[in-house]
């Protein structure tokens, strides 16, 4: 495996203005203001945090995986990666990462894609898209299924082979690994803590994650 890119944060959790543990199978929709920093912690290791971002002031602008990987020239997200919108504008920038790489190719699980990937009788298992749909339905925001496009899978490791294959490798995350990103515009963050039970990537054992937010470190 190629080198992983580790960068620790200097932030102390005591100064966070928000912290919240998200159990597996649950969601979190929260606004992050420009300048604030969001940290996602993989509390027990190899858990997938499926994540969308929307521009809070114009929800039709949203995170775009293809634009992000093409404009950075690489498929992995890590420290220094700018998370770009469908208008190729920087939404957030990853400022610390103790996991080393994150996936944005593999999408989020859904009842229907579970049927395709595993077997037709998997329809009624809980999945990320159901969490997303419930969160946006409850939010009061004018978001619909139309807005659920292409997400990030924080803490997942999905390499591409020279032959153009996609591999679902063993995770590179461990208990306590985290990724931190600073918002460059006001964003709505939507996370599903993935409940997938059919995939060895989380050892068939989805576990909690934690999210924290810090105020802007820039003195005004």
């Amino acid at each position: 495996m190629s080198t992983l890119n580790y960068q620790e944060s200097s932030r102390s959790r005591d100064s966070a203005i928000t912290s919240r543990v998200i159990p597996a199978g649950e969601g979190w929709l929260h606004r992050v203001e420009a300048g604030q920093t969001l940290r996602i912690v993989d509390l027990e290791g190899n858990q997938a945090a499926d994540t969308f971002f929307f521009h809070a002031d114009d929800l039709s602008e949203r995170y775009s995986a293809q634009d992000t990987i093409r404009e950075q020239g690489g498929i992995y997200l890590t420290t220094g990666t700018r998370l770009l919108s469908n208008l190729c504008r920087t939404m957030l920038e990853i400022t610390a990462d103790t996991c080393g790489r994150h996936d944005t190719l593999g999408g989020a699980c859904a009842a229907e894609s579970n049927m395709v990937r595993y077997s037709l009788d998997k329809r009624f298992m809980h999945n990320c898209r159901d969490t997303f749909l419930l969160e946006i339905a409850r939010s009061g925001l004018p978001l619909t299924k139309r807005d659920l496009a292409h997400n990030i899978n924080f803490f997942m490791n999905v390499p591409v082979t020279a032959e153009g294959g996609l591999k679902f490798d063993d995770g590179v995350s461990e208990p306590g690994k985290y990724v931190e990103m600073e918002a460059r515009m006001n964003v709505v963050c939507l996370i599903s803590n993935c409940p997938q039970l059919n995939n060895p990537c989380n050892a068939y054992d989805p576990t909690p994650i934690e999210v924290l937010i810090w105020e802007s470190s820039v003195t005004r």
């Binding site: 775009s64 093409r70 859904a110 229907e112 894609s113 395709v116 591409v160």
Partner: protein, 236 residues
């Protein structure tokens, strides 16, 4: 009288969309070398259900598109199957060009000065075609690029492979559900700078034969067969 089918030649820079019933074949032919067609697909009867490239790639364990692959929708349906393909690699990673990409790679050529030779981009083309069908920016999702090749190295760095598409390259898609197909015959966003490429492509649509149990795409991977079964279940 036998229906002769539909044929259209898209000039370089052109956009195109069409609702196509289930069971048809869409054959796209590069009429010159270096073609690129950025493509999106929607369920004709419910455009909220649309091409889901991440789900497709994940299900097929692939980062490229080729013969045998079944392009899947959000709702797990087989949308179009690649029944024939002369290149073995069509891009699924690079996305589509915007006005800014075109300006940086090829310079600026406006309608005011160049008339219909102005430099078009895939994003604007998608928006124009989608708006004809009541859709828009929010409906633009990850797209495929026929005839282009983008590789990733060990460190995950992306590279555009020039010279991948010779004149005469083809790809044939079979519709497994009724689809709205939207094509932008515009340069790939990673295409190196130079002259704005204007490679015409021919689109030919004809009635296909229904895929049997021994169909190549159905049997390419079990995931393909299940997506086709989910699509067939809805064919009342």
């Amino acid at each position: 009288m036998k229906n002769p089918g539909y044929e259209e030649t898209l000039p370089g820079g052109a956009m195109w969309s069409m609702r196509i019933p289930r069971g048809f074949e869409i054959r796209v032919t590069a009429l010159g070398s270096g073609a690129n067609v950025s493509a999106l697909f929607y369920h004709s009867e419910n455009p909220l259900d649309r091409l889901n490239l991440p789900d497709t790639l994940k299900a097929l364990h692939t980062a490229k598109l080729m013969r045998g692959h079944v392009l899947m929708s959000d709702m797990g349906l087989a949308m179009v199957s690649i029944t024939e393909d002369s290149l073995g690699w069509h891009d699924a990673l690079g996305g589509h060009s915007t006005a800014e990409h075109i300006r940086q790679a090829f310079g600026e050529q406006t309608y005011q000065t160049a008339r219909n030779d102005f430099f078009r981009n895939a994003r604007d083309n998608f928006l124009i075609e989608l708006t004809k069908h009541g859709l828009g920016l929010r409906d633009i999702v990850a797209n495929g690029n026929f005839f282009s090749k983008v590789v990733a190295d060990d460190a995950g760095r992306l590279g555009y492979v020039p010279g991948h598409c010779p004149a005469g390259a083809t790809i044939t898609l079979r519709t497994e559900i009724p689809v709205l197909a939207v094509f932008a015959n515009c340069p790939h966003p990673m295409q190196p700078s130079g002259d704005y490429p204007r490679v015409p492509v021919r689109v030919r649509i004809s009635k296909g034969s229904p895929p049997g149990s021994d169909d190549f795409c159905r049997n390419f991977r079990p995931e393909c067969g299940r997506a086709m079964e989910l699509a067939e279940r809805q064919n009342f």
